[in-house]
């Protein structure tokens, strides 16, 4: 019998996943800043502290580097910590532990240990929080062998991928777009997983492949609905995992549509779009391309405070529509 499916918000889906993980495995615990009675800066942990107590929903001091290191140390010695960063920007304070320790410990020790830690990063712009609370730094971590980096775009994936992350023996970094927390979608009750490393074709189409991540998936789908009325049939690939990347799904899609556009919120240069574009240029799909690849990414600036400027900094639905139309019609 299929599990009951409800409409849950993205934040509720994550919270449910964490509760299920804690119910299933006593080694799982949550740690982070103000995740207890406060419920987390974005209310993702919510009232979990009331159900699981302060030992398993552990408020940390404002010590991102130390906290990340404690999570790594606990993971190496038998626990399954889920460490919440209050904002993904604060990963910059903990890069040492993430990049030098979590990512490399298994390798440096010749496979003698695993580091089953999950780190959650509320990311992205759109909340008026300005330059130090709005970044999209997933490509930074995606550059590091030893880490797995995921960006679920729907409540369903948020729950299933978090449960997959908790079950994973290696460090998994989850980038959650803050504007998605209130987005609703169907989520089955109970335990299920969505595999890490597998992209999802969210809309099939013949004329153009849009590879999108996180919140840009919905924007690409909205753009595709408008473009459909103009006779442009867009395929939307939700990358979901940026390391290890599901190359084959993207290659197969581009071979079908012969056009590729990458849409992501992070700064355009040296980002996920560059990686996907290069991957296609190196693959057998290159011969199928009918037009140059297009990247739509964030502006080459910090995120501004002013709401109009802030919006202008990252790709919006009209930008995607225009770029897709030009690409399909051969406008350069």
């Amino acid at each position: 019998m299929d599990a009951m499916v409800r409409e849950l918000s993205y934040a509720q889906a994550i919270q449910e996943a964490m509760a299920i993980a804690m119910d299933m495995d006593e080694r799982v615990f949550l740690m982070g800043e103000d995740i207890g009675v406060y419920g987390g800066a974005f209310q993702v942990t919510g009232d979990l502290v009331e159900r699981y107590g302060t030992d398993r929903v552990l408020d940390t001091p404002i010590s991102e580097l130390g906290g990340a290191g404690v999570a790594v140390g606990a993971a190496v010695t038998g626990m399954r910590p889920i460490f919440e960063f209050q904002f993904s920007d604060f990963a910059t304070l903990a890069m040492e532990q993430i990049v030098n320790q979590a990512a490399k410990m298994r390798f440096m020790l010749g496979g003698e240990v695993s580091v089953p830690v999950v780190m959650r990063f509320p990311a992205g712009s759109g909340t008026g929080a300005a330059a130090q609370h709005s970044q999209s730094l997933e490509a930074w971590l995606g550059h590091v062998p030893g880490l797995k980096v995921i960006q679920p775009a729907t409540p369903y994936d948020a729950k299933g991928m978090l449960l997959a992350a908790v079950a994973d023996p290696d460090p998994v970094m989850i980038f959650e777009h803050k504007l998605l927390y209130k987005a609703k979608g169907p989520v089955p009750e109970g335990y299920y997983t969505v595999p890490i490393g597998k992209a999802d074709i969210r809309r099939e189409g013949r004329d153009l492949t849009i590879v999108a991540t996180s919140i840009m998936v919905q924007k690409a789908l909205d753009a595709a609905a408008t473009l459909e009325a103009e006779g442009i049939d867009v395929e939307v690939v939700d990358l979901r995992t940026i390391r290890p990347m599901d190359k084959q799904t993207v290659i197969d899609s581009v071979k079908k549509t012969s056009r590729l556009m990458c849409v992501y919120e992070a700064v355009k240069t040296l980002g996920i779009g560059a990686e996907v574009s290069a991957m296609i240029a190196e693959s057998e799909a290159f011969d199928y391309l009918d037009a140059p690849i297009v990247r739509l990414g964030g502006a080459e600036t910090p995120i501004p405070y002013n709401p109009e400027l802030e919006k202008a900094t990252v790709p919006q639905v009209p930008d995607i529509i225009t770029a897709a139309r030009d690409l399909v019609k051969g406008v350069r």
């Binding site: 130390g66 404690v70 790594v72 190496v76 390798f107 496979g111 062998p145």
Partner: protein, 342 residues
Amino acid sequence: MAGASKAVADSRANLPFVYRQYSAEQLKQVLYKMYLIRRFEEGAEESYTRGLIHGTMHLSIGQEASAMGICMPLGEDDQITSTHRGHGHCIAKGAEVKRMFAEFFGKTTGYCKGRGGSMHIADVAKGNLGANGIVGGGIPIAVGAALSSKMMKTGKVVVSFFGDGANNEGAFHEALNMAAVWKLPVIFVCENNGYGMSTSTARSTAVKNIADRAAAYSMPGVIVNGNIFSEVAEASYKAVERARAGEGPTLIESKTYRHRGHSKSDRNRYRTKEEIEDWMSNRDPITLFENELREFGFIDDKGIEAIREAVAREIADGIEFAKTSPSPDVSETGNYVYTEQA
């Protein structure tokens, strides 16, 4: 570990801590291991000079009493995190020198299968979670291991070794604070050898003693002469007891000295020959311990000579083992990046 019997203990009532606490056999084993650390590092240094080991290494020659003293009250299940100057910690926690040599030689029989080398030497089975190339990198990890101990109720105590340089890293302060707030079974051991690379503690550190910083985190701060085995072991013993009783962390500052430079690139421009000579001639930890053992009647010259010979054999065998062990195949470069899943 079975210690000295009651009758023996009574006869040693006026001796320093370790001579009351441990059996003659245990103490001779300590001397053996102090020599093993010294000769291991000399052997590694010689192998480096002869081109058999590449990269670099950080030798702890002169700090053997600190490693042995801290590890003396630890059981095999207890855990440590170590530093770039971590060969002594590794041996003190029970590692075999042949597998350490093999690691330095980059061989598959090494503790890290040739992937880590000197700076990442580890022996997880014996509780050594690894040396660390990042100054202060292991300190929060030790706190995490102690959190595991508390949550899983394993009774394990975790020791985090670090140097004086690390006490000015943010990780040190964040980790000590969390360990104190959560009353975790962890012991912070600062082996203060006077210099963070070339910069003296006087020039780098605002407090006179690193142990003074314990006050900021409401934990005991203990200063010991790191070159006197008994002093170090006694402080460690008390800290372990406190940790096991659930009373929380301790910061031990073990004042010591490295005879060698920071690493193989050191031109030794920041300290005088006289200073080094003084520490080598008058405060060598092995000589000091040996003299005490002899003076208190635990060993004679013949016994010492037997230990030196046995250590020399173990070192020679270890180097031979490393030399004759296989190297990893280049096709296996990608192994261990992720956990292999069936």
